[in-house]
């Protein structure tokens, strides 16, 4: 699996006209599941280590069902871009399924690991199935202080929760669901670790190489380059500190540092700083002319986690994305999308709309602008209701004042089963980021069973 055609398998299954739903008994059944949870015998607890003996292999993962209902904003620019040639009405439903399967095999100092994610989707676009190798690598551990790895892997640099400006070799997180697994890149790394006495408690050095050639890491950047990077980590006076870099030609060279520290037993602060050279972006001006710009940019993040006496966890982060679009650039984009829709309605000419769609990779990505605030509060087991965690998340675009607000409730009725109910409300004025999203709200249910 290591190094094979970028390690990915993608299969589209075309469109079907039928939209199958799920059985109506499914939801009530989930709420009855707690009755099936094992009751503890009066005072009998058996525990034999042999039951949990280590095996040379491991197979696991999860299966997930996730229906979503979207409330469409039919006046929004991004709605015009996506739905200009079809009428989906005021709402549209999407039925998603996911099977994430992982396996490992160990022998001696070697370990093979693979994680394959298969997504099923049934939406207004029809039915599709896509399977992708998220990870697939060989790991060699000749001693506890040296680990060598090669293959497709997530490195996950950075200390931020919602964003990671120093994650130079990772795909971006979804701030709406930052804990999701993501697809890795094909790399070779070595990690050397030293533990020391004194104020410098831990020291580790992890150089890496990342090739971009043909099908290998073809979506990372410019082809025919061997990129080099690395991470130096120290735990110094109870503070985690990383120094990171990436260079080699596929992307502009970039340098960064991050830190994390507990100020008290319930209060943590963290931050990231990155300097990015030669960042490219395609910008459209008010006349509709597209220019490719290349510039240096600085990005940074400051954040905190705070646990109150009532066991409410607060996470707050401020993110400045120096490579993002300015308010004027975003307004130009939305204005032209709206104009393209007017032209299409008047003449049937969809040329401008299709040009705007081509730019969606930049303008339509998650959080494309420059300054954001993330705020999340979660309450562990309120009112003594065990295994229930309600939470609310707000993401605010500080440039235009638009925001999304997402309340959710997570419940684990029985071991290995998670049930999450989540809503999102998007709000913002005309030509603002969240005001011009294709939907005003969405409501989703996620059932996940760990195998």
């Amino acid at each position: 699996m290591v190094g094979c055609a970028a390690g990915t398998m993608r299969h589209g299954m075309g469109k079907v006209t039928k939209r199958p739903g799920w059985p109506s008994w499914l939801l009530p059944a989930v709420f009855l599941l707690p009755a099936l949870a094992p009751a503890a015998p009066a005072d009998e607890f058996s525990f034999e280590v042999a039951e949990f003996a280590r095996k040379p292999y491991h197979i696991g993962g999860y299966a997930e069902l996730r229906p979503v209902l979207f409330g469409l904003d039919t006046d929004a620019a991004l709605h015009h871009l996506r739905f200009f040639d079809r009428d989906e009405g005021g709402t549209t439903a999407e039925y998603n399924g996911r099977l994430q399967f992982e396996a490992s095999l160990e022998k001696g100092i070697g370990r093979l690991f693979a994680r394959v994610n298969t997504d099923y989707s049934n939406s207004y676009l029809g039915e599709s199935v896509e399977a992708v190798f998220y990870d697939g690598y060989l790991s060699l551990k000749p001693s506890p202080s040296l680990v060598l790895e090669a293959g497709k892997k997530n490195l996950r640099w950075g200390t931020g929760y919602a964003w990671n400006p120093v994650a130079f070799v990772d795909r971006p997180k979804d701030p709406d669901d930052p804990e999701l697994n993501r697809e890795g890149f094909i790399v070779a790394t070595a990690e050397m670790i030293r533990s020391l006495a004194g104020p410098l408690q831990t020291f580790s050095l992890a150089p890496l190489v990342l090739p971009v050639d043909g099908d290998v890491n073809d979506d990372f950047g410019e082809s025919d380059h061997l990129n080099f990077g690395g991470r130096l980590y120290v735990l110094f006076r109870d503070t985690d500190i990383d120094l990171l870099f990436l260079t080699g030609g596929s992307r502009g060279s970039r340098y960064g540092m991050d830190f994390a520290r507990n100020l008290t037993s319930n209060f943590e602060v963290h931050g990231e700083f990155a300097l990015l050279h030669d960042v490219r972006k395609r910008v459209i001006d008010s006349a509709g002319d597209i220019a490719e710009q290349e510039e240096d940019a600085g990005s940074w993040l400051l954040g905190l986690r705070y646990l109150t006496a009532a066991e409410t966890t607060w996470i707050a982060e401020y993110y400045h994305n120096g490579a993002g679009f300015s308010r004027e650039e975003m307004e130009n984009y939305f204005t032209l999308a709206n104009r393209g829709y007017e032209v299409f309605q008047a003449t049937g000419d969809d040329g401008l709309l299709r040009r705007m769609r081509d730019l969606a990779e930049g303008y339509g990505r998650m959080n494309p602008m420059r300054d954001y605030l993330y705020l999340r509060a979660s309450q562990k087991e309120p009112f003594d209701i065990l295994y229930v965690t309600p939470a609310a998340t707000a993401i605010v675009n500080l440039a235009d004042g638009s925001f999304s607000l997402s309340p959710e409730i997570l419940y684990t009725p029985v071991t290995n089963l998670e049930l999450r109910l989540k809503g999102s409300w998007l709000n913002g004025g005309s030509l603002s980021e969240y005001g011009e999203k294709q939907n005003d709200w969405r409501f989703e249910l996620r059932l996940r069973y760990y195998l």
Partner: protein, 242 residues
């Protein structure tokens, strides 16, 4: 070393109670509970008022005064997660999230009455000073006070058996003597290698009326490990120690 410590402590016991060296007594209780450097398997059971329960199995390694790491090996939803404690610093590694994140001693990675500080317990002598020792009918009562603000409980009252010098009950308190939880140590068992200690720790709390959490030890043995095992970087590889 254990024999020397026991001998030294036997000599101390020959002194009158008011002259008892509380710090030496606490050190001996720590050593009787665990070797300074060890590995263990534990099951954590959270029991709800209606009798339903959740179980977690952990593999734990400890070295010296301030290094502990634990790996979840069951259930499937938690498998592969690991926690690391270096003094007052704690991290949680989740395979899906990747990078270890800092956690606090007052949170609980498993829910229930045990918090992270209970699950990643250091030696009591590493976190607490002995303020006072009292002699009770069949043992000792040690009054402990936290050495720093980073410690989960401001004050602890520890009852120890006179013969075995093992804890029988521990009360965890706030600075104002409000009871947070009580740990009950039960069923002393010979784990081999000279380790004889309670195999079950049960806890209840006035803050969680009707809920109980139980920690069951099935295997403890002395084991020497390099310091590099107790680093953030090694957290994804803890399984290889089993």
């Amino acid at each position: 070393m254990r024999i020397l410590l026991s001998l030294a402590f036997s000599l101390l016991l020959a002194l009158p109670v008011h002259a008892l060296d509380g710090e030496a007594l606490l050190l001996q209780i720590d050593r009787n509970l665990n070797p300074e450097t060890y590995e263990s398997y534990r099951k954590l059971v959270n029991i709800e008022p209606d009798g339903r329960s959740r179980e977690y199995v952990l593999f734990t390694v400890k070295k010296g005064l301030d290094k502990v790491a634990s790996l979840f090996i069951s259930p499937a939803s938690e498998k592969g997660r690991s926690t690391l404690r270096l003094g007052d610093n704690m991290w949680l590694y989740m395979p899906g999230v990747g990078r270890p994140i800092r956690i606090t001693s007052l949170q609980s990675v498993v829910g229930g009455v045990f918090n992270n500080s209970d699950i990643l317990q250091l030696d009591y002598a590493a976190e607490y000073n002995v303020e006072k020792v009292e002699e009770t009918g069949d043992g000792y009562l040690l009054h402990l006070r936290a050495k720093s603000r980073g410690v989960a409980y401001d004050r602890v009252r520890l009852w120890a058996d006179r013969e075995a010098l093992l804890p029988t009950r521990i009360e965890c308190l706030t600075e104002t003597d409000m009871l947070i939880k009580t740990l009950h140590f039960r069923e002393v068992k010979d784990f081999g290698g000279g380790i004889v200690r309670p195999s079950i720790i049960e806890t209840d709390s006035p803050l969680y009326q009707g809920y109980r959490s139980i920690m069951i030890f099935a295997g403890i043995r002395e084991r020497t490990l390099p310091d590099e095992v107790f680093t953030q970087t090694f957290m994804p590889n803890l399984e290889s120690l089993r």
